[in-house]
């Protein structure tokens, strides 16, 4: 609980419309897209300017209250949970595009801006904002900055960190500073680079300068149909080895295509072991030849069918099918638990076999849909939370899958972040010395540890104490 006098002070600063203090209201802020973990905040505030953010943070600093910024709450690692019963600073009202400069190919936006709205605003001028997490119709640029968000097109375009030039941030003591800016290569440490992906623990971004790219002249989407996941995985590696870098390479297994077809009839074959979705973009010249090369590679890897979407409608439908996978799971299982592991892409066939074994060992079905081009997996453990031991078995599966990813030279998370969800897995990848270096970095930004505390770093006592586990609700996922 936050003391009433502090709530009064915040209300005097922002007005009653922008302060949420009623306990009956606050419960909706107790989780993000990951419902497995919950923590009720003390108070929620909605500033509209950087100065207001600074004043709120100064109050928090003065009172030694923990605080955490929240965008749209679509995150999948519990990153914006207020574990300390302090202040959630919702950035949602700071959602303007402040400046667009096509000559410099950049835009300055506020952090609460919805990702897709930026592309919508610049597309009529032939530009786009490249990072496109699958939640892009709702997630915010500020949240993307915190999590260094990816998406299906990171294979070619990179993640958020490759597209952020500068940030205005409110530091955990309330000071407003600029990191980076409109120009590239500013001398000094790359503070912008370390801030992006720091999961909201270094301060609160209040302005973001992002790169804009010209929209590609042409886009082409292809579907390869395979009998086995191995064949689809090998196709991906061969495409890359032959020097082709598609905009996206996505694989779905049979469990997924069947669920998707039952739900929205996107045109995927129900009887195939795996489907591979390939998207090419770029200059129109030569695109057909690229498609021929990919068709050949698919055939060499025993594809039984290779199809090019004939028009925009078919293309949209294929993508809608891909992007609806998680919604579709919601209809074939009472609960699911989504992972976000990464392996080097040549190890895809191997990790998929291991995942199957892990599922079999625990008696649970695991569906797979993933960004194959990046080796970024989203295994989906299907379970029924009403059967108590199934929940713990699902969690156990998740842990074993991530361990397998790390053992193959991969990583715990490709785009969802560590948050509270995976903090205790960090030692799988990092030694105490590695973690100490990260801690040292954090201390520079946040010496009082008030800014989104309790995340990222291992905390064995955490689970079941600060947050309440909530196995009864399906884990949200839109990836």
């Amino acid at each position: 609980m936050v003391e009433a006098r502090i709530v009064r002070e915040l209300t005097a600063l922002l007005g009653p419309e922008r302060v949420v203090g009623d306990p009956h209201d606050l419960i909706v802020y107790e989780c993000d897209g990951l419902t497995l973990e919950r923590a009720t905040p003390g108070v929620v505030v909605l500033p509209e300017t950087a100065e207001e953010v600074a004043r709120i943070v100064k109050i928090a600093h003065r009172e030694q209250l923990p605080f955490v910024a929240r965008g749209a709450g679509t995150g999948l690692s519990g990153g914006c949970l207020d574990l300390g019963g302090g202040i959630i600073i919702s950035m949602a009202r700071m959602d303007r595009i402040l400046e667009v400069d096509f000559d410099s190919r950049l835009a300055m936006v506020e952090p609460g801006l919805v990702n897709l709205w930026l592309t919508n605003a610049v597309s009529k001028h032939g530009f786009l904002y490249a990072p496109d997490p699958s939640s892009q119709s709702a997630c915010t640029i500020g949240g993307n900055v915190a999590e260094n968000s990816g998406g299906p097109h990171t294979l070619k375009y990179g993640t958020t960190t490759n597209h952020v030039l500068g940030l205005e941030v409110v530091l955990p003591d309330g000071e407003i500073v600029w990191l980076g800016g409109r120009v590239q290569d500013r001398p000094g440490y790359d503070l912008t680079g370390v801030f992006v992906g720091s999961e909201g623990t270094f301060g609160i971004a209040t302005k973001v300068v992002v790169r804009l790219l010209p929209a590609p002249e042409a886009v082409l989407t292809m579907l390869g149909v395979f009998e086995t996941m191995d064949d689809a995985g090998n196709t991906v590696s061969q495409i890359i080895r032959e020097g082709i870098v598609p905009a996206a390479l996505e694989i779905m297994d049979q469990l997924t295509t069947q669920a998707v077809e039952d739900y929205i009839h996107a045109g995927y074959p129900r009887d195939a072991g795996a489907v591979l979705l390939v998207e090419l973009d770029g200059p129109r010249a030569g695109m057909a030849l690229q498609a021929d090369r990919i068709t050949r590679i698919c055939r060499e890897n025993h594809a039984r069918e290779v199809r090019i979407a004939k028009d925009d409608e078919e293309r949209q439908k294929l993508w809608k099918g891909r992007k609806s996978a998680f919604g579709a799971y919601g209809r074939i299982t009472p609960n699911f638990y989504v992972m976000d592991g990464v392996v080097p892409r040549t190890r895809l066939p191997e990790i998929l076999r291991q995942i199957e074994e892990i599922g079999a060992r625990h008696g649970l079905r695991i569906a797979n849909v993933f960004h194959a081009g990046d080796g970024n997996l989203h295994p989906m453990v299907l379970y029924d939370g009403r059967i108590p031991e199934q929940t713990s078995r699902a969690l156990q599966c998740g842990e074993e899958i991530l361990r397998a990813c790390v053992d193959l030279g991969g990583a715990l998370t490709g785009e969802h972040g560590i948050g509270v969800e995976k903090q205790n897995f960090m030692p799988m990848m990092f030694s105490p010395a590695d973690l100490a270096a990260m801690e040292r970095l954090k201390q520079v930004f946040s010496p009082d540890n008030l800014c989104n505390p309790g995340k990222i770093f291992p905390n064995p006592s955490h689970h079941g104490e600060t947050t309440q586990r909530m196995p009864g609700i399906p884990g949200g996922a839109w990836i």
Binding site: E147, V183, I240, A285, D374, G410, R440
Partner: protein, 462 residues
Amino acid sequence: MDDRLVQEAEQILGAAHLLAGADAAPYAVDGMVPRAVAFPESVEEVAALLGVAHRLGAAVIPWGAGTRQDLGRPPKRADLILGLRRLNRVLEHEPGDLTASVQAGIALGALQEALGARGQWLALDPPRGHQATLGGLAATNVAGPRRFRYGTLRDMVIGIRVVGADGTVTKGGGKVVKNVTGYDMNKLYVGSLGTLAVIVELNVRLHPVPAVRAAVAGTFRSPDEAWGATRAILHSPLQPVSLVLMGEPTEHGGVRGSAAGGAPAGIGSGPVAEDAGPWVLLVGIEGFPEVVAGQRQPLHDLCLRAGARSLTALEGEELVAAESAMGTLWDLPSAPCWARCRLSTVPARVPKLCEVAAGLGAEHGLRARVASFIGNGITHVLLMTDAGGTVGEDRVIAAAEGLKAWAAGEQAAYVMEAAPVALRRRVDPWEAPRGDFRLMAGLKAAFDPEGILNPGRFIGGL
């Protein structure tokens, strides 16, 4: 020898890989001869050496190929040169993953050769950067013109291993291109000029070697016209890999000898050659043959519409020659006094910067040459004077400080990235620290509390 630093280093390495006394003289940094020069062979040896230096409070200067030791302020102290040339192996390269793990002491040229044998490359083309080591390139984060398409090492390093100031070995990132596990420590060390830790290993993302490389070179009468062409390209869906503007600004936007600062050999022999302007815009394109072929004509048209006086399609040796001509800006000038400054502006301000450089050159009796990666707004200005001694220094300093002041007013970035040490003793090569300096000082204090790593060389004396 009664220097404990030398003794302990010798215990770690043996005498064969250690230089001391007069032997260390060739490794003088800005005139300071180190007490010892060590060439460790393993990460463990690097760690042990740093442990010793830390205990003894000895200042450590990491040294790759020594190609950029004239960047930054002269160090406050230089006790131990940590030469990394023996850490020069490719640890892993899996073409299907488009990634490689390398040791920091490998030279870029050697790495490209190894990768190229399997059809891939590290998409980094710093001018005259063949000898430079990966560790040095990462510490300085320098890049070449093709950064327009591929970014800099900042964008390519996916994992890093460093030895901290106290000798602790830590890592960040990993081996996969998409990874948000923990903080992005890669970004902390890349570009930190060896002031926070010594980089010993790097995992990098690679790209396929393009099947064809080509360029369209247009000559223009003024930077404004060249910007017009650049602007049209930036607004188009064309995907060039580099955009370089080269020339020698003179006060009236005029026509100082074209070959000297402007068109390299072979450029300007197009249809309107006699009237070729002194400014060259070199637009690189690469990829599959049909992709390159398909972009050449539209680029040609955009340049013509913007007022190009001549246009040349370059490929093969001609392209290499043109790129080499640009590279001369990075060669050690023969002029008695000089400095090369790098300024970052928004691209649209590059013509103005050319004008400012010309004005300062005229005012202070200097020649100025420009090579701008104009698509990124990164402009290198080489200032040269025939005057020697203090007079020459005064002139170059006055012009460089003029550029710095202009940059400050423009919110542009500035660094004098190369100059004789005499100059760098007299003037701060870095721009003035900004509001975020407090954090930078905090980082230095946290990661190198004793101040032994490259002390005093970086911005603000970090």
